[in-house]
């Protein structure tokens, strides 16, 4: 449900794009702050998006393109790439993929993981032994990597 730019987290068919925008602001502000503190200009960077965050890559890319135009890093080249999720069971060692982690979750539960990936163990368990001792090895959220500057 979208009401005057605000949507309620609960509900099955929500647009998730506001979260992507918030993250894009954080990414561009981080680059601005880096340039300001180091006196260097960012030439290129890569944005990795963990599968568990379930972000819309096109929306994130579009928001980054729009925001970066008005920053010190306007000419920077960047990519938006997916980081595969690996969730390890601390009890039996089984490694779960993104598909296995979210398979039994409904839309509302996925929405929670979208914001706080660490809560996977609150909503799920190891597919082999049923333990809730789950650790995210990769693919949790967004990270800015391989920043090249001049």
């Amino acid at each position: 449900m979208l009401v005057a730019g605000v949507k309620v987290m609960d509900g099955p068919n929500m647009l998730r794009h506001m979260h992507e925008y918030t993250i894009a602001v954080g990414v561009v502000d981080s680059l601005k702050n880096f340039s300001k503190s180091s006196g260097r200009r960012v030439k290129s960077f890569r944005v990795f998006v963990g599968e568990l965050s379930m972000l819309n890559l096109e929306v994130l890319r579009g928001a980054l393109e729009k925001l970066i135009k008005h920053s010190d890093a306007a000419d920077a080249v960047f990519s938006v790439e997916v980081e595969r999720a690996r969730v390890i069971c601390g009890s039996c060692g089984y490694v779960m993929s993104f598909g296995e982690v979210v398979e039994d979750l409904d839309d509302q539960e996925k929405e929670v993981i979208h914001f706080l990936p660490e809560l996977i163990a609150s909503y799920g368990a190891c597919r082999i032994c049923g333990s809730k001792d789950l650790r995210i090895e990769s693919g949790r959220g967004v990270s800015i990597r391989d920043v090249v500057y001049v």
């Binding site: 925008y21 502000d29 706080l116 660490e118 609150s122 920043v147």
Partner: protein
């Protein structure tokens, strides 16, 4: 903030957190180390008292394994998503953010590294807006949640250290004071909770040794426990406990009427 790691990575959340913190006039950390001394009740009630005193107030519950602020205040609405982040629900004028608004009573088996991620995520995503006070409820122990929030808020923060008269509680509070001191975190006072009228010399001595103010003792109030902790704002504010806490907050120099 927004520094680069050796492998060329930048944590985008640092910039968001810095922006959020710039909107808070004061961050009040409620800590103490020992479990069961009443940190959550003090944090929740302090937030209500500050709000009642016309301060724009938020409450961040960082007891990630055992959050209780929502239960104490009777909050169960989900946060709203807006362009600027997640807008927390309000109760008694206090904007409340807790991991329990997401977990909804489910278990929270979070390990150390995961806790730091959740603290940073909640700080980065929550849009409290401009606040006079952000009250932070910390969990028992001196682990990731306490260290992370201390590191993030030390420029605008002050801590109240909660203990009981028990030597066990005092000994854990002493460790917390030492950790906060090592990080140059301002301690605005030590408060002894659940006092049954016995000698409060141990908590006073603790404060004196640490060179911080003793805010005095809050009497044990059985009323707080009635209803299994589900109090809600009006009932919490009407207790003897709340009246005593109000005095302590005033003594600590907070804007309380």
């Amino acid at each position: 903030m927004s520094s680069m790691s050796r492998d060329g990575c930048i944590d985008y959340r640092d910039a968001l957190i810095m922006k959020r913190l710039s909107e808070f006039s004061y961050v009040l950390l409620v800590t103490g180390g020992k479990g069961g001394v009443g940190k959550s009740t003090i944090a929740s009630t302090a937030a209500l008292i500050l709000s009642q005193s016309s301060n724009r107030t938020g409450l961040l519950d960082l007891d990630l394994n055992g959050p209780s602020a929502c239960l104490l205040l009777g909050v169960d609405e989900s946060p709203m998503e807006a362009e600027d982040g997640l807008i927390p629900p309000s109760v008694g004028g206090v904007k409340v953010m807790s991991v329990d608004l997401f977990a909804k009573g489910r278990p929270l088996p979070l390990t150390g590294g995961a806790k730091e991620e959740v603290v940073k995520e909640m700080m980065a995503l929550t849009s409290f807006g401009r606040l006079d006070y952000l009250v932070v409820d910390t969990p028992p122990g001196t682990g990731d949640e306490l260290l992370t929030i201390t590191r993030l808020t030390k420029q605008v923060g002050g801590a109240i250290v909660v203990t009981t008269s028990s030597p066990l509680s005092i000994s854990v509070a002493r460790r917390v004071i030492e950790i906060l001191g090592s990080m140059n975190y301002r301690i605005i006072g030590v408060v002894e909770n659940m006092s049954r009228g016995e000698d409060d010399s141990l908590s006073r001595r603790l404060a004196a040794e640490a060179g911080v103010e003793s805010l005095g003792a809050i009497p044990f109030d059985a009323e707080i426990m009635v209803g299994g902790g589900k109090k809600g704002p009006e009932k919490l504010l009407s207790t003897v406990f709340a009246r005593s806490l109000r005095e302590k907050l005033r003594k600590a120099g907070l804007k309380v009427v």
